[in-house]
């Protein structure tokens, strides 16, 4: 920069005269760059109120990208938390949100979500099963409504977008109830954007579906139908992830197929741009006796973190007692007592690997460094612990998404939530989770991570 420029900096802009009589401009006229600095220090909740102060603050906050750490969506108190509650899991239960940064929970009247809005056909019939959440991604929930027809819902802005019906599924499911279809049709759903932060953004929804989660389908917002992707149907899919307009699909064999959805621009089918098939099987290092493989199973997640693709394996014991010991099913019945012990499934360990493209393998990762991962029914996410001090670094925040086991017992299900520290290799409950009486019992519907956005 030339000296003259710098000198000018000190003289230029009469609006920046400080402390001159009559030149006082109030806070509503504060310079945008300063307001933005302030905005960055505020929580999502405070920003929402900041918007209602005056028009200049409102305009600024509406155009700035406010990034928040995840919130936890929880069932309403008095619903679903009781043992053996007859109340069907309902979207009405999804009406509390817990903000990690503010350590506060917010209540919503979620029935309103359906009662207002343009395309509303909600009939408020107590007999019809209520909505069921199958995904959470970029502030949107993917919901199967009371007719098992899918829609996107932003619980904060209350925007709703109808998605095409899953026709194939409806056809084969004549003998199933709506509830069954809601829960079994889509095993995971995400929202994917052509480019981050661009106005001219294409938006797709991608789902894993099928009887054994063997299929992938997508639709662009506004499409009338879903389109299947040419995935390897001999595999079942564990997780899907969107990144820079690409879809990454992790299979149960730890392969990753990648499609570029932006290549649909000319009406063509999305191009499969990569197929990562690791040469050797993943070594989970669980062969130390404690983990005999009839006592546990692994659930896998794909996470993008600092430009790396991580494969996170969550090891869940089928029956785990309060000391964290893995039991056999036979251990649950003792000679003296004919009632089986209540030892629900529980996460007992995590393993992290990263994709090694050149070596064509998954490399073991011991530490996540500064990062905190958020896993569950949501699209997997990674946050920086220094940018978001409310998140413990080198930790995994997880919610229960063991859909198959969740409905197996009325005493538990949705309970397997917590924070795992990779460094200490220990678990702790989700922060302030016990405050809401959710404790160890059934949490129905299970909690979801959601990053609030308007």
């Amino acid at each position: 920069m030339a000296p003259s420029n710098k000198k000018r900096r000190l003289y230029y802009s009469s609006s920046r005269i400080v402390g001159e009589g009559g030149q006082y401009r109030d806070w509503s006229g504060l310079h945008t760059d300063l307001l933005e600095l302030i905005l960055k220090k505020l929580s999502f909740h405070d920003v929402s109120r900041f918007k209602a102060v005056c028009s200049s603050w409102s305009n600024l906050a509406s155009t700035s990208r406010v990034v928040s750490s995840p919130w936890l969506m929880l069932p309403n108190l008095g619903h679903g938390c009781e043992y053996g509650s007859l109340a069907s899991p309902s979207l009405d239960n999804f009406s509390r949100f817990f903000s990690l940064v503010e350590k506060q929970h917010y209540k919503y009247s979620s029935k309103q979500w359906f009662q207002e809005g343009v395309d509303d056909d909600y009939d408020d019939d107590d007999d019809s099963p209520e909505a069921w959440c199958v995904g959470s991604s970029h502030g949107w929930l993917v919901i199967m409504d009371h007719n098992a027809s899918p829609l996107l819902l932003n619980p904060f802005s209350r925007r709703k977008i109808r998605l095409p019906l899953m026709k194939d599924v409806m056809l084969i499911s004549d003998h199933l109830t709506v509830r069954d279809v809601q829960k079994s049709c889509i095993s995971k759903a995400i929202v994917l954007f052509s480019e981050e932060k661009k106005d001219k953004n294409k938006t797709w929804v991608v789902v894993i579906y099928g009887s054994v989660s063997q299929k992938l389908a997508y639709c662009e917002i506004g499409d009338k139908s879903w389109t299947d992707l040419d995935g390897d149907q001999s595999l079942s899919y564990c997780d899907i992830l969107g990144h820079n307009g690409r879809l990454y699909a992790l299979s149960s064999s730890n392969t990753v197929e990648v499609w570029d959805l932006r290549s649909t621009d000319c009406g063509s089918f999305p191009a499969k741009v990569m197929n990562f098939v690791p040469e050797s099987a993943l070594c989970l290092g669980l062969d130390d006796g404690k983990f005999s493989n009839d006592k546990y199973f692994g659930q896998s997640y794909l996470v993008e973190s600092m430009g790396e693709f991580l494969l996170v394996t969550r090891i869940i014991g089928y029956y785990v007692d309060s000391d964290g010991e893995l039991l056999d099913e036979a251990d649950l019945l003792t000679d003296e007592d004919t009632h089986p012990l209540v030892c629900p499934y529980r996460t007992v360990a995590f393993r992290v690997h990263k994709m090694d493209l050149t070596g064509n393998k998954w490399d073991n990762v011991d530490s996540l460094g500064d990062r905190a991962l958020f896993l569950g029914g949501n699209e997997s996410m990674s946050f920086s612990g220094s940018a978001f001090p409310e998140c413990d670094r080198n930790s995994i925040y997880f919610t229960d998404d063991y859909w198959d086991g969740m409905n197996g017992d009325y005493l538990y299900g949705g309970h397997d939530n917590g924070v795992y520290s990779l460094e200490a290799k220990t678990f702790k409950p989700l922060p302030y989770f016990d405050l809401f009486g959710d404790g160890d019992g059934k949490v129905d519907p299970p909690p979801f991570w959601i990053v609030p956005s308007i």
Binding site: K6, R16, V18, G19, L37, H45, A52, V53, C54
Partner: protein, 163 residues
């Protein structure tokens, strides 16, 4: 750093002149905590008098007071410096009323005192956190300038935040 300072250990003094004519004599090491002053010193090393027509004496004085504390604390090799600075920063912003805060923030921004701007914007944020819209307006003496219906629209869209 100016080229003439290599032979002597005594710190060079700068004269800073505010819009109302008030002048401050400050050590270079203190004044150069402000990005704008630092740039001028680097480019026009021979000038000892710097005129700052956009900031008046009261707020320039406060900004320099902050710089001085931080410059002094940083020259001590004591490990507790961060703690001292934090404590002193807390004291510095504690009793600022919104009017002073506003002008101080403008002055710090104008003089490119990045650290001080950060401290002051944090103070502003702390005055917004957890407050209702009406309380924020009251705190900062802001009048709502929304068109009729506009504010209701915003509140409706974010209704959960107002419950």
């Amino acid at each position: 750093m100016s080229s003439s300072s290599t032979t002597t250990t005594t710190t060079r003094l700068l004269m800073l002149k505010a819009s109302d004519g008030v002048t401050f004599e400050v050590e270079e090491a203190v004044a150069t905590k402000l990005g704008a002053i630092n740039n001028m010193v680097e480019e026009e090393g021979s000038e000892d008098l710097i005129c700052l027509p956009n900031v008046n004496g009261k707020f320039l004085g406060m900004v320099l007071e902050w710089c001085k504390k931080h410059a002094n604390n940083n020259t001590n090799s004591d490990k507790g410096n961060d703690e001292v600075n934090k404590w002193w920063d807390k004291e510095f912003v504690m009793d600022l009323d919104q009017n002073t805060l506003y002008h101080l923030l403008m002055a710090a921004d104008y003089l490119s005192g990045t650290e001080l701007v950060d401290l002051l914007t944090e103070k502003v944020a702390s005055m917004i956190r957890g407050k209702k819209v009406e309380e924020i307006r009251e705190t900062f003496k802001i009048k709502s300038d929304f068109l009729p219906g506009q504010e209701e629209e915003i509140r409706k869209k974010n209704s959960w935040a107002f419950e």
